[in-house]
């Protein structure tokens, strides 16, 4: 049974196919309005994530399907001590496909080993969140028209940000992609990502602490939040926190074609004044996420022979 646990479970061709499907959904939504009629998506959210859950639910409803599920572990059988494996087996009797978020890393993979329906990882702790990466990829494709020959700036918390690591892995498979890694020393991209992904694939990258210096060459700027709790001392946090807040002044030296992205939710790392700039694409990114989830649900249900 085909599931999606890690973005690298999908080949480049499959990602291109999902992007093409999502773009067709955008152009011809009526064509897809009944594709999943009579089918059920179970959203098993063992930790709250309103945004991702609602995106999955909206995706299934727009495909003509229905949704069942729970939004926190306390309202599931996990509270009674049921294992992830058993939950997956039970829900397979009710639903045609599962989207699972779980605080423990690897839980959706365990579910996929035990379910008789496809399982989509909707985020497992700080580990994987492949549908966020699919949303990011569709945003890049829609807003730049390509995946290759791009200079991608990643800014903020590059150490703990799982969306950043997954995006680097996904974008490293395309030609002529260069990364500019913008972060404080304390939150630099982990050496294993540099070694196992960037160096291994001969992907050019530079590391800098200055967002302003990096800005002019960027085609994509992917912002993440610098969180207070990631610092060892308050002094360092206060010194650095404003360096990575994107405002209209910092955008003055950027390309007109720059695409500003953020996995959301934002706190203050992108000034609200940037929202009106045509280069701000983070709310479109949310919408694109729904279309990619629609494309993914269809793909997995087709491969399972359900639709």
């Amino acid at each position: 049974m085909r599931s999606l646990i890690n973005i690298l479970d999908l080949s480049v061709d499959e990602i291109n196919e999902l992007v093409a499907t999502a773009e067709d959904i955008i152009e011809n939504p009526a064509k897809y309005a009944e594709v999943c009629h009579g089918k059920k998506l179970a959203t098993l959210f063992f930790e709250p994530s309103t945004r991702t859950r609602l995106s999955f639910e909206a995706a299934m409803i727009e495909l003509g399907g229905s949704v069942i599920g729970f939004s926190e572990a306390s309202s599931s059988s996990a509270a009674k001590g049921e294992s992830v494996a058993d939950t997956a087996k039970v829900i397979s009797c009710y639903a045609d496909i599962i989207a699972m978020r779980h605080p423990k890393e690897g839980a959706p993979y365990v579910a996929s080993l035990n379910a008789s329906v496809p399982v989509i990882n909707a985020g497992d702790g700080g580990h994987n969140h492949p549908t966020q990466t699919l949303a990011d990829l569709l945003t890049i494709k829609r807003e730049t028209g390509r995946f290759d020959s791009l200079t991608v700036g990643l800014c903020g918390d590059l150490k703990f940000g799982r969306t950043v690591h997954s995006l680097i892995e996904a974008m490293s498979r395309y030609a002529n992609v260069k990364f500019v890694l913008i972060s404080p020393e304390e939150l630099k991209l982990p050496s294993y990502v540099k070694r196992d992904v960037l160096k291994k694939n001969n992907i050019p990258y530079v590391q800098t602490t200055s967002l302003e210096d990096a800005m002019p060459e960027l085609d994509i700027l992917y912002m993440t939040r610098v969180q207070r709790e990631r610092f060892f001392n308050e002094e360092d946090y206060l010194r650095l926190k404003d360096s990575y807040i994107l405002d209209t002044k910092k955008l003055e030296n950027a390309k007109d074609s720059l695409v500003v992205m953020h996995p959301l939710p934002r706190v203050n790392e992108i000034s609200v004044s940037v929202d009106d700039d045509p280069r701000a694409c983070y709310f479109k990114q949310v919408l694109y996420g729904k279309y990619m989830r629609m494309a993914l649900i269809m793909k997995l249900l087709k491969e399972a022979g359900t639709i």
């Binding site: 294992s83 423990k104 890393e105 690897g106 839980a107 993979y109 365990v110 497992d124 700080g126 580990h127």
Partner: protein, 138 residues
């Protein structure tokens, strides 16, 4: 120092000196009722020093564990005083319940019945990753 040769059983030879006890523990040899000898720091022409384990019974041994501890080890099966089988060991592709994932955020940390499974991702450097959380084994 002399250890009697065995007539029927297993001789695990060419263990890198110092790893004999680790192998003894991982193979669960303390649970056997037959005689088991761990011989440390035996002079070896090829290795300088080596460890040897002799088990006085023909029991199945987990070759994956042996391959994980030291793929250079040889396992000889003895019957009627003769070597009837010499097993060559390779670094195993998968380790099941040989080592435990130490990542406190891994699903195995809360679901005790799950097998701890690691796969070999880098043979040259002998790096294994947990199949659930992808954390490297130490």
């Amino acid at each position: 120092m002399n250890i009697d040769s065995i007539t029927s059983g297993i001789v695990i030879d060419h263990i890198t000196a110092g790893r004999g006890m680790k192998l003894y523990d991982l193979l669960g040899l303390d649970e056997l009722e037959c005689s088991v000898a761990i011989i440390k720091n035996v002079t070896s022409g090829k290795m300088g020093k080596k460890d040897i384990i002799k088990i006085d019974a023909d029991i199945p041994v987990n070759l994956d564990i042996i391959g994980y501890v030291d793929p250079g080890i040889t396992v000889n099966v003895i019957k009627n005083g003769e070597i009837i089988d010499k097993k060559s060991i390779d670094t195993p592709q998968t380790l099941k319940n040989v080592i435990k994932c130490k990542n406190p955020r891994c699903i195995t940390s809360v679901e005790q019945e799950l097998d701890h499974v690691f796969t070999l991702v880098d043979k040259e450097n002998k790096i294994y990753k947990c199949i659930y959380c992808e954390t490297k084994a130490n």
